[in-house]
Homo-oligomer: 148 residues x 2
């Protein structure tokens, strides 16, 4: 195998670097559930206040969440997802599905209704043909592909 000092160029690695840490994703989950204040996010995730503070600052700095003042004296903020933050719910949906199937098969802790009237069952498909993405994916290409 050829030596290459650099790891694979990859948007998965880049995304994990910014938003992939456990407490970050759980904070995003809470905001999706409508829990927007620090105390509620801390309580429902179980994150320590120090770690949660750092994670929320990072998520704000990369544009995934924004703060809104809801009390001026003392200053207090609510957290909202930006558009790029809302897009991360696709990642969370697939993590939830995996956990439901493999870790909580008899009793999924949270389910969501979908606008079609059914309980949401998220699947990843190809936008072009509508068929499952996973089974049909093949032959990766681009600068992140490393010759065997």
């Amino acid at each position: 195998m050829p030596k290459n000092a650099d790891p694979r160029a990859c948007s998965i690695a880049d995304a994990l670097e910014l938003v992939g840490e456990r407490w970050s994703l759980l904070a995003i989950r809470e905001i999706l559930h409508g829990v927007r204040r620090f105390d509620g996010i801390a309580r429902n995730t179980g994150a320590s206040r120090d770690i949660l503070t750092a994670r929320l600052r990072k998520l704000e700095s990369v544009g995934v969440i924004r703060r809104e003042l809801y009390s001026a004296h003392p200053p207090r903020f609510e957290y909202h997802l930006t558009e790029s933050g809302r897009e991360l719910s696709d990642v969370l949906a697939m993590l939830m599905k995996w956990g439901d199937r493999h870790l909580n098969p008899d009793d999924p802790p949270v389910r969501w209704w979908h606008s079609c009237g059914e309980v949401l069952e998220p699947v990843v498909v190809c936008a072009h043909c509508g068929k499952p993405a996973r089974e049909g994916a093949h032959s990766p290409f681009g600068r992140g592909v490393i010759p065997a």
Copy 2:
């Protein structure tokens, strides 16, 4: 708000606990790319050997990967995804899409062909109606829903 000492019951948290760590997900990425041996996975992820050893052991213990002996003297192993491991590619696909859109919009490092003949563009839809999951999800229910 009512006090609850326990964090939210949630398959996202459970899944992150088992497979959500950065190096674990990057190791799974490498196996999806067909890189099955320790040295290749270490090189392409950039993980330290100690951390990668620990992550691979954990992934094996939770049934996401399995080892196959490819050399008896000395004993050497290749890593393969189980069915539950392959299902995690749905999570990775959506992380990759997010990273492509927000971090590498002009030059996605890796793309995949899909069996339909187009470049794969993964989207999360509702299995029942085929419409986007995200915009239509509402009214979560179950024991993991915490009253406001």
